[in-house]
């Protein structure tokens, strides 16, 4: 068992270490994200000042927005650029030659991408919003602690499922790139979709009430909305447990879908380039 897993662990470790090198880009991105977070919070606070009722308190929304910025890179909004290059050059044919399960191999690559890059972004963001801002006296506008021990542990479980789901989505995007021969179409349409339906654009509970049943059951909620609402206590107890169940089901479904499509694509793969 351990021997069988070794190549997948190796590709995960190699990619993970490679992606940790992009520190300057992470720093520039961090500055931009601080700006976005601040604007979003001030806009929401202004809306809330004149509102009779709101499905989210200011406290819950502030936590949601900062954590949303911290885990922005967890969202599977683009396919792996390197795989897209392999499709164009024809190197993709080599992937067929490896004595490995192609899906698992790509999943391991995606897993590295969805842990290393988000980690580089999340650490400075959480330190700034959660430690620095309260120290400077802006605690009200910063990230607060989780809503309790139960919320913290459910949040941890939800984040693990989140990474699994995000990697499954990423791998599905990679497979679609191979199927359509270009990353352009996939990136153009999946990016906006992910941003809206994960809750990254605005917290899902703030969307109109008639949309809420749809928002609850769609797969993208597991990428951001579910763990963030558990963290701030907006969702707890049985509701949170059920949400974890939905996340887990979507992980299985998206992996199965990715495998199915990959099988079809690989059966009649045409290598490009020369």
């Amino acid at each position: 068992m351990a021997v069988a897993l070794r190549p997948y662990q190796a590709v995960f470790r190699a990619r993970f270490q490679l992606l940790l090198q992009y520190r300057a880009a992470a720093l520039a991105g961090f500055g931009t994200q601080c700006w976005w977070g601040a604007v979003k919070i001030m806009v929401f606070a202004a809306f809330l000042r004149g509102a009779a009722s709101s499905p989210m308190t200011l406290r819950e929304a502030v936590d949601y927005i900062w954590l949303g910025q911290a885990f922005l890179m967890l969202l599977p909004w683009t396919a792996d650029p390197e795989l897209a290059r392999m499709v164009r050059s024809g190197d993709i044919a080599f992937e067929r030659l490896r004595p490995l399960d192609t899906y698992a191999f790509w999943y391991a690559r995606a897993l590295a991408r969805r842990t290393a890059t988000p980690l580089l972004r999340a650490i400075p963001m959480i330190l700034t919003a959660g430690v620095l801002m309260p120290l400077l006296g802006f605690g009200m506008w910063g990230l607060s602690a989780p809503a309790g021990l139960a919320a913290a542990s459910l949040f941890a479980v939800s984040m693990v499922l989140d990474v699994a789901l995000s990697s499954a989505f990423s791998t599905l995007l990679d497979v679609l790139v191979v199927a359509t021969l270009s990353e352009r179409g996939v990136n153009t349409f999946v990016g906006p979709l992910t941003i809206v339906f994960s809750g990254s654009l605005i917290p899902l509970p703030l969307l109109p009430d008639w949309l809420q049943p749809v928002m609850r059951y769609q797969p993208f909620a597991g990428l951001l909305d579910i763990p963030l609402r558990i963290y701030s206590g907006h969702m707890g107890g049985w509701e949170a447990t059920a949400a974890l169940g939905r996340q887990a089901i979507w992980v299985v479904v998206i992996i199965a879908l990715g495998r199915l499509v990959l099988g079809r694509v690989m059966a009649r793969l045409q290598a490009q380039g020369g």
Partner: protein, 267 residues
């Protein structure tokens, strides 16, 4: 050949080369339309739940959004050369070639590429602008149009200035750091809401440091008949977009300093 005719040539060449791939052009334009369109979904969703933001109505926000969005689309279409400056010119040493030509570097970089695909972003902004016209009861006199066109021109100048500053930075950092994204994309995000909803420090920053508010909030508020919300005399508010041109002027001056500082990296 004078500068304007030469620039016309540059644009012509750029357009022809982009039209060699009509499919890609269409897809990228539609993508730009969709990507900016989702921003407005957020505005719509928040208004459908909360009805107003500190007394401002949906139609009014649509006009703020339209003006700033159209301004940025114009700047983004024209200044592509500055946007990719670090990667394409400094890192490769290609900037040397621009320096030996008997034309200004600014003109050559403006001519690097005219990004026609930004038409997607432009149309999206124009559409929201039209929605704002439809939802508010403004008399659309020529004075109103003149005010808003001046605002758009000032806004396009300001965003161009920001992108030129980002390029100038590359003379020292070699790679273009995308920190300017906070001021361009993030600036559109901030300036689509009226300035008076923000905290004082942020309002001051958007008025005096990077005058995003001057090119949208002040003139648009006057047009909407809400000059009282700006805190300045209507005349001052109407002239505020001039600060966008001032910002561009300062950027160009810093650019010249940068060019003087430039040492080639090529081998």
């Amino acid at each position: 050949m004078n500068a304007i005719r030469l620039y016309g040539r540059y644009v012509g060449v750029s357009l022809r080369s982009q039209m060699q791939y009509p499919g890609a052009f269409l897809l990228t334009s539609v993508g730009a339309f969709a990507a900016t369109g989702i921003d407005f979904i957020a505005v719509w969703a928040l208004f459908s739940r909360f009805r107003h933001i500190e007394g401002w109505q949906f139609g009014e926000i649509a006009l703020f959004y339209g003006v700033i969005s159209v301004s940025f689309a114009l700047a983004d279409g024209f200044t592509r050369g500055f946007d990719v400056f670090g990667e394409q010119f400094v890192k490769t040493g290609d900037f040397d070639r621009l320096l030996v030509r008997p034309r200004s570097t600014v003109l050559q970089l403006l001519g690097y590429e005219f990004r026609a695909t930004r038409i997607g972003r432009f149309l999206q902004g124009a559409l929201v602008w039209a929605l704002g016209v439809h939802l508010t009861s403004i008399a659309w006199t020529w004075q109103v149009w003149a005010t808003l066109l001046f605002a758009v021109a000032g806004g396009a100048a300001l965003f161009s200035g920001i992108l030129i500053l980002q390029a100038t930075l590359a003379f020292w950092t070699v790679e273009s750091l995308e920190i300017a994204n906070a001021l361009t994309y993030g600036g559109v995000e901030a300036a689509q809401y009226p300035l008076d909803i923000y905290a004082r420090w942020f309002r001051n920053f958007l008025t005096f440091v990077v005058p995003l508010g001057c090119v949208s909030f002040f003139p648009v508020a006057v047009v909407l008949g809400r000059a009282d919300r700006t805190g300045v005399a209507p005349m001052v508010a109407l002239l505020a977009p001039a600060l966008g041109f001032a910002f561009l002027g300062v950027s160009l001056w810093l650019w010249k300093l940068g060019v003087r500082h430039y040492t080639s990296t090529g081998s």
